[in-house]
């Protein structure tokens, strides 16, 4: 009998507790900001699109004063739920999908919430309330590839990609095409780490390529790409190479990572020398920033349903010249990595060659392939 009383009391307590949590809980939740950002699986610290879109939202917070909510799911199956939660809250002016694999989920949710504005980076969702921001990685990669073709002394350039997949193929295709453009018939090696986090594989791939005779490596492999940079650093400090070795960064300016003071982080006033040759800039952060800025100015709703292409022409892609980021007409929100003195001194003729190629690509006189076009 005593047990029954205990059980009844317990049940009452549980029911009251659950009721309190369900009905009174939400009143304790903090007031949400007006922007929501959903990052891709893998989360921050990937030195790629997740970090970049987060940086864009942070810049918007610092400059425009709009705070944002961020979610970092780790399964594709979680995207839809989060999108629905944000949309159902109804308080967000815009919900930004920060990775290409959210397109399926976003297409469903955007149809269910026609009054909610969305944006997606790196993919296209055809819906009247979604702004799609796409990039032409192959064109940006062609520029750094052309520079690699000019700078290589062994006539052999390398590429370390994160995974054997369509997005990375665009980087690889542009790079190889660019190297062949300035240095026809150049030797090239394309390899994939198969992991975005395993720096050990990146370092081994870098080592293998350098040993096989490559002297310039372009990495597009998130954190595991940094392993290849370590490989170059070891070879240079260990003086195991007579020819100079170069690394090419991706997405954000990364030439500083080749300086001796790399452990001070990106904000530091680094000085030459560096073994970072250049970086292919992909301004995901500007895309995110512009979305938030347009919401603030009330321009977003009139432009949804359209595709915003970020390319060489509007500064969505560019290359890092001697540690400087060229001025672009994309809103100047990047923490510009301008050093007191240049990190590198490329000769003017080389810079001109690349800038000419850039002008040609913009003018459409040359086209850069966006899939693996050899083999």
């Amino acid at each position: 009998m005593e047990q029954r009383t205990t059980a009844i009391i317990l049940i009452v307590i549980i029911v009251v507790g659950v009721g309190a949590v369900v009905f009174l809980g939400p009143s304790l939740f903090p007031a949400p900001p007006r922007v929501a950002l959903i990052l891709g699986t893998g989360g921050r610290g990937d030195l790629s699109f997740n970090d970049a879109s987060y940086a864009g939202a942070m810049n918007a917070r610092n400059e425009l004063g709009w705070n944002f909510d961020v979610a970092e799911p780790d399964q594709i199956a979680e995207f839809e739920g989060l999108l629905r939660d944000y949309a159902a809250a109804g308080t967000y002016d815009v919900i930004i999908s920060g990775s290409f694999d959210q397109a399926d989920a976003l297409a469903l949710v955007a149809a269910d919430f026609p009054n909610q504005t969305f944006a997606i980076v790196d993919n296209v969702v055809v819906a009247p309330n979604v702004r799609s921001c796409v990039f032409t990685e192959n064109e940006g990669s062609a520029l750094v590839g052309a520079l690699a073709g000019l700078m290589t002394q062994t006539g052999h350039v390398g590429f370390v990609g994160g995974e054997d997949m369509w997005l990375i193929h665009r980087f690889a295709a542009g790079y190889v095409w660019g190297a062949n453009y300035t240095n026809p018939g150049v030797n090239f090696t394309v390899q994939y780490t198969g992991s975005w986090i395993d720096t050990a594989i990146g370092q081994n791939l870098g080592d293998a390529m350098f040993t096989a005779g490559a002297d310039i490596i372009y990495t597009a492999a998130g954190r595991s790409g940094l392993g290849a940079w370590t490989s170059a650093r070891n070879r240079i400090t260990g003086a195991t190479n007579t020819t100079p070795l170069w690394m090419i960064g991706v997405d954000s300016p990364m030439m500083w990572y080749g300086c001796d003071t790399y452990d001070q982080g990106p904000g530091y006033a680094h000085t030459a020398p560096t073994f970072g040759l250049t970086s292919m800039l992909k301004r995901v952060d500007s895309a995110v920033f512009e979305v938030i800025e347009d919401v603030m100015n009330g321009d977003l709703d009139s432009t949804t349903g359209s595709i915003f292409a970020y390319n060489l022409e509007n500064g969505g892609h560019d290359w890092e010249i001697n540690g400087y980021i060229p001025y672009s007409n994309v809103t100047d929100v990047y923490t510009l990595t301008e050093y007191d003195s240049p990190l590198l001194t490329l000769s003017q003729s080389i810079v001109d060659t690349i800038q000419d190629l850039k002008a040609d690509i913009i003018a459409g006189t040359v086209t850069v392939p966006d899939t693996i076009y050899w083999t």
């Binding site: 989360g43 921050r44 610290g45 990937d46 030195l47 970092e72 054997d164 090239f188 090696t189 394309v190 390899q191 994939y192 198969g194 992991s195 986090i197 395993d198 720096t199 050990a200 370092q203 081994n204 791939l205 080592d207 293998a208 390529m209 040993t211 096989a212 005779g213 954190r223 940094l226 392993g227 370590t230 070891n234 260990g238 195991t240 190479n241 007579t242 020819t243 790399y262 452990d263 982080g265 693996i372 083999t375």
Partner: protein, 316 residues
Amino acid sequence: MQTGDPMLELMGWLLKATLQMATPLVLTALGGMFSERTGVVNIGLEGMMLVGAFSAVAGTYYVGSPWLGLIIAVIAGGALAGAHAIVCVKFKGNHIVSGTGIILFGLGSTTLGLQVVWGKQGLSDSVERIPEVVIPQLRDVPMLGTAFGSLSPIIYFMFIITALSWYVLYRTPFGLRMRAAGEDPSTLDAAGVSVEWTRIVGVVLSGALAGLGGAYLSIGFENAFGKGMTAGKGFIALAALIFGNWTPIGCFLAGLFFGFVTGLQFIFPILIPELVTLTNLVKILPYALVIVALAGIRRSIPPKGIAVPYEKEVRV
């Protein structure tokens, strides 16, 4: 210097990559061996490696010396293994349950630790790494220079620890006790030695070695900690342990074999560029080779008393 035949250099590099990839596996597998030979299953090696890798970087960051960071990693790995030991030996819990708990805890806590220590997500700041041992006379020899000219000291430790483990396990009374604790604990108990303490020491040793293996990844090979950076090496080490039939020399050879086949997958696409569209299939090769080799060699026979909690006979 890059003067030799590129093919020869590449072979030299393969030797080096074998050592580099094998070192964390061999160290962790040896750790697992100490645990399993004393009768405690340890599938939590992955978690212990992660904690080792993280605390090596955090320790180096706080103290400023990578060598002290290495010691901190060993202590941290041992401490986490201590929790496993308490659960498994003292409270006679299920070894596999506890091991999975250790893995989850290691994964989550190290990622959170990044936030505690550096306020960052996913990737830590760079720290000083353990300087490599350079042999100047060897470095200019064509192939051997690439292979052995400049190696991390932990790779040399790995050889020493393998030899030491063999000696301890087979030539000292303590090793005899460890083996007895795994094979026939009641005899050990009858001889007046505490089975519990022998097992606890074995498990803590395993954590310390796994921590060292993890530290090699973060401050011996790389210079920072990234979320989930061991990428399943703890499980591969577990496989190496089974492949090596729970013996020190076996673990060593199995680890080298794993390292070699991993290195091989990097070589193929360089030698044959046409394989680029088959990259993912080439990456299967190491795993397939391991299965074929293990199926072709012998049966795996684990220690008899493994996973069986030892109950002291109680006289009433």
